[in-house]
Every structure is written in structure tokens, then in C-alpha cells.
Symmetry: C2
């Protein structure tokens, strides 16, 4: 039984949810999962129970859900497909980086492993997609890179933007317009908790002040 795209989406949501939503337990609460997928809570519970029976997921009633080995591999491969496709669309097909997400969302359920591998090869076995999100290898393994956000990185020190955690078109355009895409080198000049903002100096000394909410979505190294 190959997984339906709904199943793939659940696994992906859990995969992404567990890592990002900073749950100390490593368990993703059902509410969050349901919200991420845009379904009623009961729906998520039911589906997760099914996934648990298939051995893809470990489910603790009232606590949350996490992936098993098998589930994690599957999820990682979905994510891999998504990210390889995104990069391919940008690099080969000429999409803009704020346009690729929806397309990849569809294609990730339709492409064969074969095709993904060919794309991956054409792209030179890249380690990250256009947003800087890491691309799992064909085994589903992704080695974690230590990153800090603009809120936590050292100040007055040159850092390189490596990742943008947001798929919103408007935000991505903004980032692009102000030369804050992954790869750019910048420096945090000031943080002000009163005004809830961070000032950075970027390419050709351009200065820009952004809110902490936005700053937290920019990861650097």
C-alpha cells in the first residue's frame, strides 16, 4: 500500500511540527496537528490512530504524536521531494523563489523517486532548497546544522543568512528586496526590546529595521 497524499501530508506535518514547534516531549499535540492540516481535531485523532496501526507513528492519547523510524523516513522523503522540486523549479525552470511552494505541494505526491534523483543530480546534490531548508538525503537522513536566529546571534559580527522560515509570498518578496536572502552576509547592529525590533546592516551598508517576529524567521550562521 503506497501512502495516499493525505497520509503523506499528515506525516509531513508531524515531521515539520515536531521539529519546529519546540515541544520538549518531542510529541506534537493533536490540536496543532489538526490546525496545521486545517481539519477538525477529531479528524486528526482518527487519522493518527490509523497511522499508529500502520506503525508509522507513536501515539500517546492526550499527549500527542511523534513519528516512528519508518514514519520518519517516509516523511523525510516527502520533504526531500518537496525541497528538491522547489530548488529545481527555481534553478532550472526559472521560477521565482516565492512561487515554488504551491507547485511543489502538488508535485511532491506525483513524482517518482527516479525523477527526484535525476533532478537532485542535475542540481549537484544540493543540501538546501531556495529557502535554506535542508534537503534530506535519499535515506531520509538530514544532518542538523546549528543555527541561530537574528534574535540570538552575536551582535556586531558578520553572519551569513542561511535560512528563511516562512513561505508567505509577501514576506519572501520583502526579504528579497532587502537583500536578506540565504547567502547574504549581514550584521546585527542593534536590538531593542522596547520597540520590539532588530536593526541590521546588510549589503552595501543598507540598514533596515525589522520586528522581532520577522527577525526570528531569519536564521544565520
Amino acid at each position: 500500500m503506497l501512502p495516499s497524499s493525505t497520509v503523506e501530508n499528515y506525516l509531513k506535518a508531524i515531521y515539520l511540527g515536531v521539529s519546529s514547534a519546540g515541544q520538549p516531549s518531542g510529541l506534537l499535540p493533536m490540536g496543532q496537528l489538526a490546525a496545521a492540516l486545517g481539519v477538525a481535531p477529531g479528524t486528526a485523532t482518527t487519522m493518527v490512530k490509523t497511522l499508529a496501526e500502520s506503525g508509522l507513528v507513536r501515539y500517546e492519547p492526550y499527549a500527542g504524536v511523534t513519528l516512528t523510524e519508518a514514519g520518519e523516513k517516509l516523511a523525510a522523503l516527502v520533504v526531500r521531494r518537496h525541497r528538491v522540486i522547489e530548488l529545481f523549479l527555481v534553478q532550472v525552470v526559472g521560477y521565482r523563489w516565492d512561487e515554488v511552494h504551491e507547485e511543489a505541494e502538488q508535485l511532491e505526491h506525483a513524482v517518482s523517486d527516479r525523477l527526484i534523483d535525476r533532478m537532485d543530480e542535475m542540481l549537484g546534490r544540493p543540501k538546501a532548497d531556495p529557502h535554506g531548508d535542508p534537503i534530506p538525503d535519499p535515506e531520509g537522513v538530514v544532518k542538523p546544522q546549528p543555527m541561530q536566529s537574528l534574535l540570538t546571534c552575536p551582535m556586531h559580527t558578520p553572519v551569513t543568512i542561511t535560512r528563511v522560515i516562512d513561505q508567505d509570498k509577501v514576506f519572501l518578496r520583502f526579504i528579497e528586496n532587502h537583500h536578506l536572502k540565504p547567502g547574504e552576509s549581514i550584521e546585527v547592529e542593534d536590538r531593542d526590546s522596547a520597540s520590539d525590533s532588530v536593526r541590521v546592516r546588510g549589503k552595501n551598508q543598507e540598514r533596515i529595521t525589522i520586528g522581532t517576529r520577522a527577525a526570528s524567521k531569519l536564521l544565520v550562521q
Copy 2:
């Protein structure tokens, strides 16, 4: 309501079936449709009735089915997607021409118009896919090219192979190995109804004899 991939497959089957299966009436019998889709006859009847209610199809009980304007356009666009993808896979991604069919079969239901147009552009607005099958334009229009098969074309006259009507891997490999791919120039030397075969002379005087069944699948101009 955007059509499910099942609906797209029905439309495509009717589109391809009506043109190829040489029905004088222009109607495709339900039996053939059911067979093409690998479903029971009753299933096809039911589905076709539904399609008729959506105005995509004209259905004559006990006679067969054909596409309406709307249905034909939709079907042609599915076929367009399929063929653009096939060519893209060969030309850009480096697939072999006998490998693209299955992949395209999946992708044709997942790609956006946007992406198809970009691929089409990258490929230079091609008029045919790797098998020589014509690619409908974005409006679903395809202008018919008069073609003859190796069984009907003039003998002892150079002709160019333009199309191969068969997706079977083994056959395609055979065609490729003997330099009979679309674009190659050849000449029919002999037809023999007794032995049910056709002898052609191809590139660098290579001679090869093939059965009439195979010969009928090679179209020339």
C-alpha cells in the same frame, strides 16, 4: 470543480480513442472505453452518464460516446500536459524516450498550467513529443497533419519518420536500435503480403524487415 484525475483519464481515453479507433460515426463504443481504462463496462456507462450531465461528453446509449467542445478542450489540455512533460523529461532531464510515459501519466494530473507553459517555453514551443505525437496548443487545438504509415506510403521514395504509435518499451527500444526514430529518413523497398512484412532501407543503407503490424505503427511524411 476541477476534474479529478479519474475524470481526466476518461476524457483522455475518449479523446485518444475517438481519433485512433477509426469509428466512422465518431462515437467511441463503451466497450472500448471500458477496456482502455481497465474497468467493467457498467462502470464506464455510469461515469459517462455523469460526464454527459457535466456537459463534457455527448452520449448515445448503445452507440457510444464522444466529446463536446468543452470536453474536447479539457481532454486536449490533459494530452498537452502529458506530451509537454514527456518531451521535457527527455530534452531537459535526460530521460530515455521509452521511460517517460509512466512518469508523465502521473505528472499530467499534478502540474499547473503555469509550469506547463514554462516547460513549453523552455522547449521552444514544440509541436510534437518524443514519439512524434502532436502537442495541442494552450487552447487545446491541434492541427491535423496528414500522415501515412509504412503500409500506405509510396515505395522507393525517401520519407521521414514522424511518429511512432506505441508506448511499449520493447518496441521503442527496437525502433531506436534500428534508427527508426522520428526524424530519421528511410525508404520502403518492398512489401510482401505473403510474408506479412515490409522491408525498409534506413540510415547508412541498413536494411530491415518488419511485420505489417509493426509497420502500421510507424507514420511517415
